[in-house]
Symmetry: C2
Subunit: 540 residues, 2 copies
């Protein structure tokens, strides 16, 4: 248990990103003045924790605080629950296994005593993966954080083996000491763990270079009720079903990863991030699509739509920098939008690799930017992006303190559907609270591009209602509406956040009744009594 | 049914690659003079076909010739059976569905009448995938060859949909007409089909650029006993189990693919193949490993070990060219080996892409070759490789006619195990027939490289025994010995040929008893009565 973490929000208590005054002004203009929701203290929550239903056992901690700290993830409903103290449900105990033997012991215990087990990595899910639910079977949350060491490294083959509970920074630090990197940087990097990345099919900000976790996960050990499913890290095979694929995306439903073999890379010679502006959304999309389809060797590519571009510049609060930028862009025939659908789009991109590859890649992308009548503005804003790449979750806290709720939705779809789906999602959110005369501020970016299509990442802000319950209701309306649009109009219900409990109802539209049925049956092969993370992934 | 095909061997009857005299001399030296095995005519085999056990049905052809033509694949045991006329087993009927409706009708018929179905693409398996076996249930082979059309193409998203029965050349021709390519070129390209590639996790010669079929297969329709499992071609998703992964490698055990969505590419601006020589195996391995780990943008990379290098040059029969090459290499400090483990290694590589990427990539690889004290010899031999890239199966025919058997084995393993495993495989084969005083000529190459490891592709030649049965016995000893070495020493039982019936006994060592049990259970979810290609993949 990491008591240095905020117990009811994101990250480290000593890290804060307050909103600049100008950002607040902007939100007032867009959404109206807001009133923060009340927050309760940890002591008050402790009072609400019911007695544990598990028998005492040396591996189980039934204290109130660890149970509180493992009851919720980082979704907006989780924040509403944590800050209002209305948790609803807690695990009956938390276990902190230190090795495979203890993990196996926990599985044996669960089998014998009929307990549920919820594997817990960094608790960063924004889709309800690790939340226990009300049910007759007692629930043990298995915090994997102590199984966090580099176990082996084969430098010739660039394969490293880690305990599955290692969090991003500790993983990278251990690899860097040997001259290597994994290169997996989801926005939750500071807290999320290797096991969680694998179990929920995570994607990092530099997946264009390093690959998604699907490409990085080479093999490992899954501890299950029937023993250990051991998968050798063979680089490629045509021998039947790829067992790694049963583990990835299983979200704790079939077992708990104890060790993970990873495909690692030497530390890059050079890595830098750059920014350009394109005069319109369509021209921006054309550039990123071409860059993906021409397989230009970038490591990151992010295209903010005009409203996100405008909002980011306003929220950053550097009025003088914006003015300067405006002037520069106007000289080049572009302009920053004023809050509508028109205006410049911000393109942030990264290059990672050898020095010689670096130069060639930069030239190729600059050529595309010129063809799109865009303006390359160098590394200054790119450095700012890099510096703030894991900051967004902290900004949520600052917004919350001002009474503004922020949430994100993400999907992926083929190129021919990217812009229509983005507009459909944004429109569905923007109009949903009209009957309450509430504005919703919605903007999007593309952040993971493929030759065949792109992810769409949509952020929406709205005001807290008068109570946590009424605010939750607003969120539910928004989330349901947009999620239905996503799956009904050809997107996946998640490109990178996973399914959890919040997305499970939409999986049937995406995968078909048949596909979901098979997924459930496959989980059933490993866990016939639904003791492993029930309710997650399958809405069962 | 393609009656323009050889009924008891590979490919088109009008295509022949006779052995040069010098090649024969070489084989005499290495293995001794050989006597060809007798061959029977098609008419004689027709006499041996038993009555069909299926009821007459408009979709079923119970004629002897189609049943003969669909009874065997292209493994060495298949050749021994076909050429000797000792088939052992034939399907009871062959169906040639022309559309999804007819395919569904066949599934319904199979369910009602309790027939087995074997999906059949190009019949190019070298591991017994499509061979019917003796069993009480009648067997229908489903030849997918008539479902071979381009159904849809989304150029913006670079996704094309084909009937699953389309063979390599027809697929490429239809894409080329639109300016696109799939770029999947297994050695069986001329005959093998899209559905077969997906079901057996095929890998093409240019997978380094285009990816394995795993990366090219975007979605599609799997017709099953319980209806159609439809998988949308979403570029990436974190939504639970990736259903594509249930289809890939399923080898006909869960359903029959009717349509396949593919990730396609525009035709490359430039494609060329080059050759270099490295002074030793270890230096050659170092170059290809670095090229893979530095992600140099090659499309093909193949490193022949010294004995393969020497054998290829000798079998090609161009004595004067070899002499010239010898002289050139000696000037550069290298030399062609003389049949032992020492000597130059042949590196063949391809570059596919834009003109500007081409030049940069060539420079990068040449630098590595120089660092490895190698000699770059340009495009001449590269063009020869390209010209003969699908010729090897025809050479088998010429060798057969001289009484020499040839077979191949392949695996994949991490870099740190590549050279030890290659030596172990080669040694196991080379020594296996010593008690019969028979030589086995064994050589290998690496042809699919990854940052974490490489495939190993081993070719072995030996003399036919006096009878087909005694020759089969020699093969069985060799195959069993080497296969056991592969899985016991950390390789996969197949990097690209699949499991079929021949590799099924070794799957347990590779995937574990547990892994194979789950694979069997998953197949059982789709096919509870074992009516779909029984015996393949699972040794059941």
């Amino acid at each position: 248990m990491d008591s240095a973490r905020r117990w009811n929000g994101w990250g480290h208590p000593d890290t804060d990103y307050p909103l600049p005054a100008e950002a607040l002004l902007f939100l007032h203009q867009k959404l109206g003045a807001a009133t923060p929701l009340p927050e309760v203290g940890l002591d008050a929550v402790v009072e609400t924790v019911p007695p544990s239903r598990v028998e005492a056992h040396p591996l189980l901690d039934t204290g109130a605080e660890p149970r509180i700290r493992h009851a919720r993830g980082q979704s907006l409903p989780d924040w509403l629950a944590m800050k209002s103290g209305l948790y609803g449900c807690f695990p009956d105990a938390v276990a902190f296994p230190e090795n495979r033997d203890q993990l196996v012991e926990l599985l044996t215990l669960a089998r014998e005593k009929r307990y549920c087990l919820i594997p817990y990595g960094g608790g960063t899910s924004v889709a309800g993966h690790i939340n226990p639910r009300q049910q007759p079977m007692p629930v043990i949350t298995v915090d994997m954080g102590r199984m966090n060491r580099l176990i082996a490294i084969d430098k010739e083959s660039q394969i490293a083996t880690f305990g599955a509970g290692v969090a991003g920074p500790a993983l990278e630090a251990q690899l860097r000491g040997q001259g290597y990197t994994l290169g997996h940087y989801p926005q939750s990097f500071e807290l999320s763990t290797l096991g969680g990345w694998v179990a929920s099919r995570s994607s990092g900000q530099q997946s264009l270079h390093y690959g998604r976790i699907e490409q990085l996960f080479a093999g490992g050990k899954l501890e299950t009720f029937d023993g250990c499913l051991e998968i050798a890290p063979i680089p490629a095979s045509a021998a039947g079903i790829d067992l790694r694929e049963l583990v990835m995306g299983s979200e704790g439903r079939i077992g708990i990863l104890s060790e993970v073999d990873l495909r690692i890379s030497p530390l890059p010679e050079k890595e830098a991030f750059y920014v350009a502006f394109l005069p319109s959304w369509d021209q921006g999309v054309a550039v990123v699509r071409r860059a993906a389809q021409q397989r230009i060797g970038l490591s990151m590519l992010r295209l903010s739509n005009p409203l996100e571009t405008y909002t980011q510049l306003r929220l950053a609060g550097h009025a003088s920098a914006i003015a300067l930028l405006e002037r520069y862009l106007r000289l080049r025939g572009n302009r920053v939008g004023t809050g509508g659908a028109e205006g410049a789009t911000l393109l942030t991109f990264g290059i990672t690799g050898s020095r010689s590859q670096h130069g060639a890649t930069l030239r190729q992308l600059k050529k595309l930017i010129r063809q799109g009548r865009g303006a390359y503005v160098g590394t200054l804003l790119g450095k700012r992006w890099q510096h703030g790449r894991f900051r967004f979750p902290y900004l949520r806290e600052s917004l919350w303190q001002q009474g503004y709720m922020v949430d994100t939705l993400e999907t992926c779809t083929p190129w021919s559907n990217v812009t229509p789906l983005m507009h459909a999602i944004e429109t569905s959110l923007r109009e949903e609270l009209a009957d309450e005369q509430e504005e919703v501020h919605v903007f999007s970016h593309l952040s993971h591009v493929y030759p065949q299509g792109s992810s769409i990442y949509t952020t929406y802000l709205f005001r807290a209602a008068q109570t946590p319950a009424a605010t939750l209701e607003r969120w539910q309306r928004l989330k349901q509406k947009a999620s239905r649009v996503v799956v009904e109009q050809g997107g996946t219900i998640s490109h990178q956040h996973g399914v959890g409990k919040d997305h499970a109802p939409y999986l049937r539209t995406e995968k078909g009744e048949y596909g979901v049925q098979r997924m459930a049956q496959i989980c059933g092969l490993f866990d016939g009594q639904q003791q492993l993370n029930p309710g997650t992934l399958l809405n069962d």
